[in-house]
Structures are given as structure tokens and as C-alpha cells.
């Protein structure tokens, strides 16, 4: 835009300030309430705590087995991320570098699975996992493995889509030359394509991690006491009589730190990838 008049700049200041308040108040509540003693969060809300305390940050680990949930979440989200990235790199390499029958069908199929409501395949998947367990003894239901398997498909469509875009932007001549010089396709992928697409791969990994770290629906159905993730575990701070709101807020903040840090560090790549499809 050119020459915004002063009136526009004032409107802009007011609107953006209001939006910043709307966006940040919950984050502020999270931070401030996590530093309050219990009586402060059980009485009427107060902007200024009667005393500041870091006790909730110690108590959260004792009230519920948060440490175990944390480890479960790390295993599940980490596992889903690693496998999802590997599978996506292979598929994206195939789609980007080769012309073959069914190429379009593949992309359309994979992308359209993103549109299905999770609830649609939650019930059957739950029953399939239970049945596989009963007939073969392979415990997918209630296990971290089953959750990893499920989650890695959630980020797969977007990851493939984004990596195809990244790979397409790497000049074809580079890896074709490597092929002619006697490299196998696998070496061409590892030596040339992957190093050139590192920003895209990292962004895809962050996205996969965020998706798995934040998933609630499948985590609440597919886990048991031992394999519960943070998404379900956070509900443990509410007992029949009391909700330890200061601990809920402290725990929320602690579980948010890994993904928010990753997101803010890599937002530029992620944003570029997320929006590439919509803008093209």
C-alpha cells in the first residue's frame, strides 16, 4: 500500500492492539496463574497474585505422573516424526523426480485423506487394533507403537506435498548428472537432494512433531495408564473435588515450551511450506 493517511495508521494501531490483547491474554493468564498459590486460583480471579510462588512447577510432577506422560509423548511424537519424515522423503522423491502411471492418483488420494474427519476412522481403527491384538498378539491398541503408526500418517500428506515442492525447486540436472556418472538413485537422493532440501525437511519434521504432540482424540482412546500422553494426562489435575488450576497452568506451560520454541525458531520455513500450496 502507498501513502496510508494518518487516520488509517490510527485505526491500524487500535485494531492491532485489540488483536494483541485477544491473542495474548490467555498466554498471560497461563503464565501468571502458574505462579500463584492455590488459594489465589480457587477464589475470584485476581490480576495481581497475593504472592508469587514457583511451587506449582514442583508440584505438577507429583500430582500426576507428568514425567511418564512426558516421556510417552516424546517417544510417540519423536517416533512419528522420524518415520513420517523418512516415508515422506521417499514418496516426495518419487513424485518429484519420476513420471509414472498413477502419479496424479497417488497425490490426490493422499491429500484427500486429510479431509476425512478423524472420528470416521477412529472407531474402525480402534476395532482393527483390538482385533489384531486378539488374533496375533501384537499389541497395537494401548501401545505407543500403535499411536506412532497412527500419528505418522497424520502429517504425511502435508509433508509429502511440501517436500515435492522443495525437491521440484532443486535443479533436475544436478541429480541427473549424478545418475549418469554412475550414482544409484539412492545415492543421488542422499548426496544431492536431501542436503539441498534441509530447510524443508526440518520444517516438515517440526510440523509432524507438533501434530503428534498436540493430538487429543486418538490419544484419549488408544492409550492406557502406562502409555498415556500429555494430551490426556493434563486432565489428571482435576479431581472430583478440586481442580489445581495453578498446576494445570504450570503443566500447560511446560508442555508447550518444546513445540512453541521449535515453532518460533523455524516459523519462517514452516510458514513458507504451509502456505505454498494455497498461494500457488
Amino acid at each position: 500500500m502507498i501513502n496510508p493517511p494518518a487516520s488509517f495508521r490510527w485505526i491500524r494501531r487500535i485494531v492491532l492492539a485489540l488483536l494483541a490483547v485477544f491473542t495474548l491474554v490467555p498466554v498471560g493468564v497461563m503464565v501468571s496463574s502458574s505462579l500463584k498459590p492455590l488459594q489465589d486460583v480457587q477464589g475470584p480471579f485476581r490480576w495481581i497474585p497475593s504472592t508469587l510462588t514457583v511451587r506449582p512447577y514442583f508440584d505438577i510432577w507429583k500430582t500426576v505422573p507428568l514425567g511418564r506422560y512426558f516421556i510417552n509423548s516424546i517417544i510417540v511424537a519423536g517416533g512419528a516424526t522420524i518415520f513420517s519424515v523418512i516415508v515422506a522423503i521417499l514418496a516426495a522423491y518419487g513424485v518429484s523426480r519420476y513420471r509414472f502411471r498413477g502419479r496424479r492418483l497417488f497425490t490426490v488420494t493422499v491429500l484427500s485423506t486429510q479431509m476425512f474427519p478423524g472420528i470416521l476412522f477412529l472407531l474402525p481403527l480402534f476395532l482393527i487394533f483390538v482385533n489384531i491384538g486378539n488374533t496375533t498378539g501384537v499389541a497395537l491398541y494401548g501401545s505407543r507403537g500403535g499411536l506412532i503408526l497412527t500419528y505418522l500418517t497424520f502429517s504425511l500428506p502435508f509433508s509429502i506435498w511440501m517436500l515435492v515442492g522443495y525437491f521440484d525447486s532443486i535443479p533436475r540436472d544436478l541429480d541427473e548428472a549424478a545418475l549418469v556418472d554412475g550414482c544409484g538413485p539412492v545415492r543421488a537422493l542422499v548426496r544431492i537432494i536431501i542436503p539441498a532440501a534441509i530447510p524443508g525437511i526440518v520444517a516438515v519434521a517440526v510440523y509432524a512433531f507438533m501434530t503428534a504432540w498436540g493430538e487429543v482424540l486418538f490419544a484419549s482412546v488408544m492409550t492406557d495408564d502406562e502409555t498415556r500422553t500429555l494430551a490426556v494426562g493434563l486432565q489428571g489435575y482435576a479431581t472430583l473435588n478440586d481442580v489445581y488450576w495453578n498446576q494445570v497452568m504450570a503443566a500447560s506451560l511446560v508442555v508447550s515450551v518444546p513445540v512453541v520454541a521449535g515453532f518460533l525458531l523455524l516459523q519462517r520455513y514452516l510458514v513458507a511450506g504451509l502456505t505454498a500450496g494455497a498461494v500457488k
Binding site: V27, V87, G214
Partner: protein, 309 residues
């Protein structure tokens, strides 16, 4: 010559199928097979007695579908209610998210001091794990201890009483608020990227011709965003219509009638009342509805786009 040789090798290989195999297998196992099973399940009388072996559950034909769409009976009535609630919720939440996102994107198109910081702040609702963010909102909406009533009642004296936000009719307002809070940043992000593709010369030329700021926005910015908006609105629609996380964390396993979104409703009929057959029939109906809306939307927008060219 070198290039031709390479191309030749690339096209004759069977390798691409091998590369796609893991992705295909996973999509089959986790999405497509369960979907087919789900459709089969929707024709069965699948209650808790048959969970261990669902294939032995008796067939009921269209029984589950009759149950779901018999609007004179309680099951059908509550499903219909849930459908209308979801439609109203989706229209409001998507509309507001789009409006707020567009406003913010346009206002932050030009550089000003603090823009980078503000943008990072706006991204926070998108980056936070949904359960951590929504649980904070549910704390804010608590009747006696929450921030919302403290501000509305104690500080601004706007309400004569402390209203309940998480039960009763007010829960719909709460749900829309949280949903907009969570999804407008995505609209903002997408539109910001769309704005970067508008050549600056367009604005310069318009300014030279004497177009003011509002005219520039109306004549240049908004039309340029149209292709982005077509995708954005569809994506927001699908996400919002299928949203399970927000109501589940806000209200728990059973939502108040005024905010009984369809995904929660199906979850409840399946896992709380243990009628998987009926739940599957509802899921299939939901998918058919989404397919219908999406195809109509794509048909209309692609035709209109064709007419524009």
C-alpha cells in the same frame, strides 16, 4: 545428450513405485482400510457385546441409518440438533476467523516498528498444543474463578450476575470465541503469504492515479487475494466442521446441547453409549455431507474462476 540419457533412465525404472510403497501402505492401513471397515460396520448391529470380534455382529441392513435419520426419535433428534449446531458454529467461526485474519494481514502488509514481534505473538495460538491452550480458556471461563466473569461482572459491571460459560446456551459463545482465537492466525499466515505476491508497482500506479488507501485495498488487495481465499476458506471449513479437540477439552466427553458439535456427538454415541454401529452410520453420513459440500464448492469456484479468465 547427458540430460537425455538421465531422463531415459528415470522413466523406464520401476523404482518410483518402490519409493511410494511405504506411504501407500500406511495410508491404506490407517486411513483407507478403516474407512471401508467403517462403512461395513455401519450396516451392523455393533454394540459392546461384539467389540472383541466385530465381524460376528449381526447385520442390520440400513437399521443404523434409519436410527440416525429418524428425526422423530431421540437419537435422530439429537443428531439433527448437533448438525445444526455444527453448521451455525462453522459459519460463525470460519467467517470471523477469515475476517480477523484478513484485517490483520492487510494492516500488517507494510513495515512498521514492532511488526516482527507482533507477528510472532499472533502465531502463538497456532503454535501452542491445543489441549494446553483450550484448558487455559476453560479456566478463564470458570464461573467463580475465571477472568471472563471477573472482567464482565466485577470490573465492567456488564452482567448483573455471574453467567455460566461452559454449560447452557452461553457455551456456544465460548466455543466460537476459542475456535476463532485458535484459527484466525492460520488465516492471517496464509493471507500474509498471498499479499507478498502482489507487485508493488500496482499500488504505485494506483497511488499515482490518485487512489486512496481504501480504494487500493478494495481494487488491488482484495481481488489479488481471491485465489488464496478459495483454498483458505475450504480448509478452514473442513477443519472447523470436523473439530473435535476444542469442544472435547472445553466441555469433556459430553458437550452442552447448545454446543454439541457433530464429532463430539459421534464420539459420545460410540464410546460412551457403546453403539459403534450407529456411530459408524453417523460418520458415513458426515463424510457424504462433507464430500457433497466440497464438490459443490469446488465446482462453483472453478467455474467462476474459468469465467474470470
Amino acid at each position: 545428450m547427458r540430460q537425455r540419457l538421465g531422463r531415459l533412465r528415470l522413466t523406464t525404472s520401476g523404482l518410483p513405485y518402490l519409493l511410494l510403497l511405504p506411504a501407500l501402505l500406511l495410508e491404506l492401513l490407517i486411513h483407507l482400510v478403516p474407512m471401508v471397515v467403517g462403512i461395513v460396520m455401519s450396516f451392523k448391529q455393533l454394540t459392546q457385546f461384539f467389540i472383541r470380534d466385530w465381524s460376528s455382529a449381526p447385520w442390520t441392513g440400513l437399521g443404523n441409518y434409519h436410527l440416525a435419520v429418524d428425526f422423530s426419535a431421540p437419537v435422530g433428534q439429537s443428531l439433527l440438533n448437533s448438525f445444526w449446531v455444527t453448521c451455525a458454529f462453522t459459519i460463525l467461526a470460519v467467517g470471523l476467523s477469515w475476517l480477523v485474519g484478513t484485517t490483520a494481514a492487510i494492516m500488517m502488509q507494510d513495515a512498521f516498528r514492532g511488526r516482527g514481534l507482533l507477528r510472532a505473538a499472533f502465531l502463538l495460538p497456532y503454535a501452542l498444543p491445543v489441549y494446553a491452550a483450550v484448558i487455559t480458556w476453560s479456566f478463564m471461563f470458570q464461573r467463580d474463578t475465571g477472568l471472563i466473569n471477573h472482567v464482565l461482572h466485577d470490573q465492567l459491571h456488564l452482567t448483573s450476575d455471574r453467567p455460566f460459560w461452559l454449560i447452557g446456551d452461553n457455551s456456544f459463545t465460548a466455543l466460537v470465541t476459542v475456535s476463532v482465537w485458535r484459527s484466525w492466525p492460520f488465516a492471517f499466515l496464509t493471507l500474509t503469504a498471498g499479499l507478498q505476491n502482489i507487485p508493488r508497482e500496482l499500488y504505485e500506479a494506483a497511488a499515482m492515479d490518485g487512489a486512496g488507501i481504501w480504494q487500493q485495498i478494495r481494487r488491488i488487495t482484495l481481488p489479488s487475494l481471491r485465489p488464496v481465499n478459495l483454498v483458505l476458506v475450504l480448509v478452514l471449513f473442513l477443519w472447523t466442521f470436523n473439530d473435535f479437540n476444542t469442544p472435547y477439552v472445553l466441555f469433556g466427553k459430553s458437550a452442552p446441547e447448545a454446543s454439541d458439535l457433530i464429532s463430539i456427538h459421534i464420539y459420545q454415541s460410540s464410546f460412551v453409549t457403546w453403539n459403534f454401529g450407529a456411530g459408524s452410520a453417523m460418520s458415513v453420513l458426515l463424510l457424504l455431507f462433507l464430500l457433497l459440500v466440497t464438490s459443490v464448492y469446488l465446482f462453483i469456484t472453478s467455474r467462476r474462476r474459468g469465467a474470470d479468465d
